[in-house]
Every structure is written in structure tokens, then in C-alpha cells.
Symmetry: C2
Subunit: 413 residues, 2 copies
Amino acid sequence: MKRNVLIIGAGGVAQVVAHKCAQNNDRLGELHIASRTVSKCEAIIASVHEKNAMKQDGVFKAHEVDGMDTDAVAALIKETGCQIVINVGSPFVNMTVLQACIDTGAAYIDTAIHEDPRKICETPPWYGNYEWKRREACAEAGVTAILGAGFDPGMVNAFARFAVDEFMDEVKSIDIVDINAGDHGKYFSTNFDPEINFREFTGTVYSWQEGEWQENKMFEVGREWDLPVVGKQKAYMSGHDEVHSLAANYPHADVRFWMGFGDHYINVFTVLQNLGLLSEQPVTTAEGLEVVPLKVVKAVLPDPSSLAPNYTGKTCIGDLVKGVKDGEEVEVFVYNVADHKDAYNEVGSQGISYTAGVPPVAFAMLIADGTYDGGTMVNVEELDPKPLFGLLDDIGLPTRVKDDKGDRAWHEA
Amino acid sequence: MKRNVLIIGAGGVAQVVAHKCAQNNDRLGELHIASRTVSKCEAIIASVHEKNAMKQDGVFKAHEVDGMDTDAVAALIKETGCQIVINVGSPFVNMTVLQACIDTGAAYIDTAIHEDPRKICETPPWYGNYEWKRREACAEAGVTAILGAGFDPGMVNAFARFAVDEFMDEVKSIDIVDINAGDHGKYFSTNFDPEINFREFTGTVYSWQEGEWQENKMFEVGREWDLPVVGKQKAYMSGHDEVHSLAANYPHADVRFWMGFGDHYINVFTVLQNLGLLSEQPVTTAEGLEVVPLKVVKAVLPDPSSLAPNYTGKTCIGDLVKGVKDGEEVEVFVYNVADHKDAYNEVGSQGISYTAGVPPVAFAMLIADGTYDGGTMVNVEELDPKPLFGLLDDIGLPTRVKDDKGDRAWHEA
């Protein structure tokens, strides 16, 4: 039994995490949220109270903390008595926040790999460059750390585990497909921090095929998918966190990630990329000002959280898993469909933030009740997915299964 | 008789001006070039000597001066004994340099309207906002000032005057068409300072039609033209300096400017424009750095002067002028074709800089010999074009005429 949650970060995903924690504070205890800008934390808490989201009376406090400062985060964990940390701050702070958890014994949850702001697309496996180096330290300290516990990575890792466990003796391939068929009505916007979003696509596309890392360029390999609810959609092989842990856990399967993009997104991205405006390396203006082009692009793009009120349509994210069962080839698509407008009505955020922010709260609840509190560092596919799916059916992200026997809820599979 | 030339500015056009002045220093006297960065002036002088461009032994000196500082420019004019100033610096310094000429009695030549860096696309007529307010001061001081004395504005104003004087009793319309059919081999580049280039296209497109200013958006009105040498080319109605003086001097004619753009240029421009990256207004990055997006775009784009060595193909810039002669409708196209490679071989610059930089030297020579030294402020169409055409036939930009009688040199018309 662990109690009291510290949320690190105050962006769009943190907003969802805060609302979901509040809706379940009977199981989570006292709530705290901290970022460099305390006013953002306060705004999130205000929106929680505005929606009367607290299930029962309880603490929800805002704090100012620099996530890059391990000692400051550790001090805050101790001061607040939090036993669970949900890190949804920038991916640049993972390692410092994780260390603070190791130092204090708190459980750690994040939703994306650690990144060095000066580097783009490091060598695979990505988790091996940072997080997995702390595995032993977690085990020695008995610290539970669940890595990549959002939707993708996160739920899609659990989808893969579920498909393999339930439907096959041997897995051949795992294709994760992420389609956002929503419409935000802007000329162009990323759905989360543009800096992080573009960083995903400016480097090498790593996939795990035939037992080794394959390299492609972004938008080099595209394919049309026909998915539940959202229909036919073009998606491109992209680099993504979960490929790097699934490849380690299912080394005999091909593991690929496919992200849906419209022609307009690709055109804007291509122009910016070719001009050098997505570079994380500083340039100097004629006036002598040193500036990182990507940060200027971020400054002119819409704030992703501003998209929520007018966002309509649905997302479909799932895993097409192929394998062999009793000597026969089988395939199954495990997936979730989320709705942008429903997400906004419930927690004031758009669907992309919603799908990323709800799962870490489910993980926190399953650490709180001991189900997932193993005292070691794991990626999501190393956990039994059924408790997670059962809880998420109740709190907003139901899992479905589609194969030649039809389209149905996971528990009817 | 005026002697000794001070060139203000050290960009691509200044390079051409410097070479052409050197090639004609027997008529121009001592040469001086000044900008904020004296090393750029020195590099230009070095390139002049490298090509042995000085027609006869003589002075060519580099100076450091801030074009925004009238007193400093006036002091330099006096110190160097220059009686002619060719201002090819940034369009932000026109008014201060002009004032220095009024203060010292030197003749003034520029190639583009004055601009306030904080404003884009002021109300028409553009010359009325700044330059024409100093007309009386020029007349009182007996100062010759020739405004917009490059190619467009500049030669195209003379083309219009020539067409009207030679071929018609009454002018109905003047359509200036600027086609660059060259290829620089880069993904994207502007042909001159990106900041100035984009500023031309982000505001309202003003044209003079049916006796009043018409407003359109950039790329709203497009039309295919079939021109000598470059063939069929799409051009779009754009805002441009010469429309504003020609409309004043030929108020009964429609005056429009058309700039050629490929689909790729339009796509890149449209993406940058819609994202807000062409804004001259500062934005603030997440890190708190205040930065003007347009200056960052400029910083990532190729330096236009770097295009010259690999630039191939030709430009065609001319005026289609329609009117009535002896009761019959007539039309004539007065134009010049320039070659990027020839320009590079002669003066180390690409064709766009060449066409902009050669005419002001011709004007300087015609001021020097008294032909155009009228002691007042004029736009180019207020001068007899024939001395100009005759001189430019000799120094690199021959004028041609095409109508139903054929395609021929202007003096055969």
C-alpha cells in the first residue's frame, strides 16, 4: 500500500493526470503537483476544483521545483510524504527525478524516454542509454519504477503482451499504429510540445526487424491502414520509445511503430526540416543573437493545450500482432478509440493528452494497491496487463480486440 | 560635372555597384565604400582588384559608417570629397543617408523605398510616406536625388516612359513583369536579403487600377505570361515600389507589378507565412528569449551571395505597356534579359544582384557628366530614358522592344 502522489510537470498531460488523480483520490491519498512555474500548477488545481473532480475532500497542493535538481525533488517528496511520483515533465528531467525516487524510496512512473536536449535520436535501444542503467539501483533500493507508462509507450506495450499471451504460442511481429483522425481547426499544430514532437521525426527511424535494428528516414516507409472507427489512414514508420523495450522483450518478433500523418503535416514538416528550422543546434542572426530555430518554431505554433476546446474527432491507437497458434498463423488487433470532445468535457484537455495522461494514473492506482508495486524497474510489457485493462475500462480508456472472430471488449476475448 | 562616389552598403548589390564603378572610374573619379562592417567593404574591394576591374589607377577605399547616423554619413561625404552617393544599404537607412546628402550637397541615388523596420507595407503611395516629403528640401538645396534607380524599380520606370513617349498618344496600362528563370540548385533561397524579400510579400498587394488603389493578397491574382527567352511563366500580382511613382506620374493608366514564382517557392512561403515565421514582430521562446522570427528564417537560409557560383539561367524583366496611337490600340513590351552565369563571370554576383546594381552606376555616370544632374528629387520615369538606355547598352543591360513589328533593340524602334 502506497499513498500520496506527486505529479511533476504542468503541461497538457499533467492536466489530465491531475484530474484523474483527483477523481480517484480515495485510492491515491494526498495530491501534489510541481513544476518550474508554480502558476501553471495552480491553474491546473483550479481547473480540477472547477470541475469538482476531487472524489472526496483532500489535499491538492502546488509547488515550485526544478526537475533537473535531484535534491530539490527528493526534498519535496519527503516534505509532502509522497510515495508515488508521476513524472510528466519534460523528457529532459527523467533521470534526475528517477534518482530522487531512488534516494527516497518513492515509486516512479514516467511516460517517455529520457532525452538529452543537445542530442536527437541516440543509438538504440534508447532505454539502454539512460533508464536501464539504473535498474540495479532500483532493485537494490526496492524502488518500483514503471517506464513509459502513457499510451504509446504504455498501453500499446500492454496490448502487445496481451495479444501474445492470449492468442499465440509464438509472436512474429508487433506493429503499433497511432492514428489521430481529429481536427483542431488550426492551419498547423502539433498535439504536444512541438519541440518534443519534432525531435521524434528529425532523426533516424529505428525499427527492429529480423533480429536487428533497421534504419530508415522519416516518411520513407508509408502504408495505408484500415482501422476501427477511423477507417483508412496513411501512417509512416517512425521512431518511438516502445520499439526499444518490446524489441528487448520480444527479440524474435519484428517490432515497428507507425504514426499517421496527413499530406499537409508532411508538407509543413518537410519545409521546416529542409530549411533547417527544426534544428536543435543554435544559429546566429545577423544581429548576433544566438537562437535555437526549433525553439522559435515552438514559440510561433499554437500551444497544444489551446487546441482542446475546438478539437473534434477520434483517435485510434493499437497493436497489430501476428504470430502462430497451434501451428496456424494468427493475427489480432488490440486497440483503444478515444474522442477529443469527450476528453475536453471530462478533463479540459484534447484526446492526445487524455490518452497519454490517464494510463499513468491507472499505474499509480495499481502501485497504490500493491498490484504493480514490485520494487524493481520495469517496462509495461513486463507486467500482467489484465489489472490495467480492467481499471482503464472503468476510468476512461477501454481496450478492445479485433480479429477474425470479430470486434469486442478485451475481457470477452 | 560631379566626381567621386561613395557607395553605402556591402551586400550583393553593393558588390555589383563597386565593380561597375571601378570599370568606369575614369568617369566617376575616386571610389569609396562604407558599411557597418568594414571587413565586408574590404572584401568587395579585394574582389574588384582580383578581377582587375579598375579601368584606370585610382582610389578605392573602405570605411566603417552607421547608415542610420546622418552626421556620420555627412562627415564621411565631406572627408572623402564625394559628390555622388549610391545608397545600396538596407532600406532602413534611406532617409538618414538622403539627409546627409541634403546637408552636404552630394547627389543621392537609391534603389528601393525607405522602410521602417517595425512596419510592413505602409499605406500608398509608398514614396509619399518618406522620400517625397524631402522633395522641397532637395530643390532648395539644389540636391539631385534619383529614387528607385535599380532595375525594378528603376529600369522598368524608364521602360514605361519610353513606351509611352515613343509608341502612344495615350497610355492605358503598365504591367511590369519580373521573371527569374534561373536555377540556384538549393532547396530554397531568396535572391536577395530574405528579410527584405519576404517583407515585400507579407503585406497587402497594392495596385493602381481605374484611378484608385486596389488591395489584394499575395498570390491571390496569378497569370501566365509568355516572354522572350524565358518562355511561359506564371507570375503573381505583387506590391512593388515603382507602382507607387508610376501611378502618380501616369494616373490615368492601370499600373500593376507581377513577380514570377514557382509552386515550390509559393509552398515554402505559404507555410512560413501561415506559421507566423515571417513576422517582423518579436515572439518570446519558452526560455524567455525575445526574437524576431523573420530574422531566424534569414539566419537559416542560404546567404544570397553564396548562390552566385552555381547560378544558371536567365532573367527577363520588362513592361507590357498598352495604349492608343492615332486612335488605334497598341501594345509594346520593353525589356531586358540577363544571364546569371555571365553576371558571375563579370562581377562575381548572380543575375538578380547584377540587374539591381548596374543601373545605379549608370545613373551616377549620368549625374557625373551633368545629363541627369537636375538639382531636384525625381523618380526615374521623370528623366529622359534614352541616355540611360544608351549607356546601359554599353555597360551590360541592353534594352529591347517587342511588339507586332518584331523583337529588336530599343534604338531600332
